[in-house]
Symmetry: C2
Subunit: 355 residues, 2 copies
């Protein structure tokens, strides 16, 4: 066998223009096979099935591969196997900072385990979400749905094709990662009780939000335990604006402490109350939910029940990857702890205004 150099290995020369496609002509396992003097299939085995070939051949092939700067073609690999080393993440709303941390957690875990993350958004619409999910399904090994808006049945249908992990919602038969709101809400309510509050309002989130209901239930339970009265108010949208609009209802309710479905609502509510001359926390205590980015930018900084969202993203990705690797529960819910983050927007009630 002659020591023949590969015609392509001349990076120093001028514009290596090949007729036809864009100038990428990567080495293939066939090139390696030729250099190493073995069959392409042996190369394939050496590179993917450790132990299937002798140590000697293994080394030979690895050197040839390194010399040619070989990289597998992911599509060629995906075609027969169906595996892509990629998973999808669908979030309800990219604009919503709640998902920032989830995305970050998932992305970090993905790259750490040599996976690639593909991102899609549902714009809060069940239909768009389903479309996006279907589209992604074709190209990924698995899917994470963060706060999905589609039916349980649709989720289960998707899960028949490939592993699916759900964040922020519990779906029977599907692996889920859900913040356990009870601890955090319990701490919040005890703190309210200790500060002399008697009546707590809950500003709810979107009606289709599973989480919003859990939070309301958690508040009711905690209030019963602490012998406080709980009232429920609705919001139009779970945004800063939506929060502003609830200010009237909050005042009308007579509650002196408010727990909101999320931080955005809390921030909007606080802004509107302050604009109306109401002191926070002297006259009304406000507690948000999630501890999103920016929750401590406000004056006073927002007290909030922290959901470890980054951790949720990480945990969901880890679970998915375990599932793909063959280990891990095919169902069941993983609960992560929530905790109260005490800042300035909650405190002792001062009925007469400033102390």
């Amino acid at each position: 066998m002659t020591e023949h150099t590969v015609p392509h290995a001349a990076p120093s020369s001028g514009p290596d223009k090949k007729p036809g496609r864009a100038g990428k002509s990567h080495a293939t396992i066939y090139d390696i096979a030729k250099v190493a003097g073995v069959n392409p299939s042996t190369v394939s085995r050496a590179l993917s099935k450790p132990g299937r070939v002798s140590a000697k051949t293994q080394k030979l092939i690895e050197e040839a591969a390194a010399g040619l700067d070989y990289q597998v073609n992911p599509f060629a690999r995906a075609l027969p196997t169906g595996r892509t080393n990629t998973f999808g993440l669908i979030v309800a709303d990219i604009t919503n900072p709640t998902f920032f941390d989830i995305i970050r957690g998932a992305e970090t875990t993905a790259t750490g385990r040599d996976y690639t993350l593909v991102l899609a958004e549902s714009a809060e619409s069940p239909a768009t979400e389903l479309t996006a999910a279907r589209r992604l399904m074709a190209t990924v090994d698995g899917l994470i749905l963060a706060s999905p808006r589609m039916d349980d049945d649709n989720i289960r249908a998707l899960a028949l094709a490939k592993p699916v992990v759900v964040i922020n919602r519990e779906v029977e038969g599907i692996p889920c990662v859900v913040p356990d709101v009870n601890k955090g809400i319990g701490e919040a309510v005890r703190s309210m009780a200790a500060n002399g509050h008697k009546k707590v309002a809950y500003v709810a989130g979107p009606p289709q939000s599973w989480m919003s209901e859990r939070r309301w239930e958690g508040l009711q339970a905690a209030c019963e335990w602490s012998r406080l009265e709980a009232v429920r108010l609705e919001s139009a949208k779970p945004t800063v604006d939506g929060g502003r609009q609830t200010a009237r209802d909050v005042r009308a309710s007579g509650a002196t402490a408010v727990l909101t479905y999320n931080d955005l609502l809390a921030i909007g509510l606080m802004q509107e109350l302050q604009a109306a001359g109401i002191l926070v926390p002297d006259q009304v205590s406000i507690v948000g939910f999630d501890d999103i980015f920016g929750a401590d930018f406000t004056t006073p900084p927002l007290t909030t029940v922290r959901s470890p969202l980054g951790e949720c993203g990480e945990a969901a990705a880890t679970r998915l990857l375990d599932l793909l690797g063959g280990s891990g529960d095919p169902a069941g819910t993983l609960r992560v702890e929530t905790e109260l983050v005490l800042r300035g927007s909650s405190g002792r009630i001062m009925p007469n205004g400033r102390s």
Copy 2:
């Protein structure tokens, strides 16, 4: 319909039916061909090359495809063609809210044009960034780099393989999308001058940030025009914490107005100054940069030079997709306008404190 559990992750050695079958057996063009009574290649043409087959056959095939709920296999398509209908976006730091609008803009544009977005992060490291870029290159049609930290040369090298668009930096020979800071900074400085300020401090960003230098230059130019004095201060990190740490230098500088490299620095600086009893904006005016999410949560809400980041993401994606489609400039910079968003953190100077 029976309640049948799906043997999801059971890769052990069960009664495996078909090898490689990932759980769902999708229809292929061969199935369609059989149903429609034509050759697979005709199906392929009917589905991708409009006009290549007769209207009659076209219809026949489309009906068969619809009946079988056919979806192309992206890998099978990508293998011979190299096209994936996917592009990559690499951001310097997923934690940084600056990038969220960019991500959102790119994602929206992508799905709107039937592309899929894959996301990666460089963690502010040039090396990680390069690795991520190389990895992505194999699976995408093109790449968007938002605030890249790697060399110009590396960027150009990547661009040889596939189209690359850069956001927030100008690289010779590469298509770029860059906010034009001059208009926004000009407005900010004129406003400062009108409010009686004489000396303006610039709190710079990371040394390797191309943008930070542009902003400093813009400030110098505007100050010269308005006959104000400009001084430059450094920051350790472009974060809220970094902003807090610059407070001492700001006070020592004697400047009454401050422009910061980004909003996070501005927010940190404001928090620290207020904690020291300094009134904003009565004693010091603060102007941030970017108008990130949460910039209006502060008290007073932050005045800032808005970079239309979502627009940048959109524009970059649009440019990339045009490039992939064959149209569009292969190089040249697209400038998007910045503007001053006047909120409460800047205003007339009151040397004696409160009016």
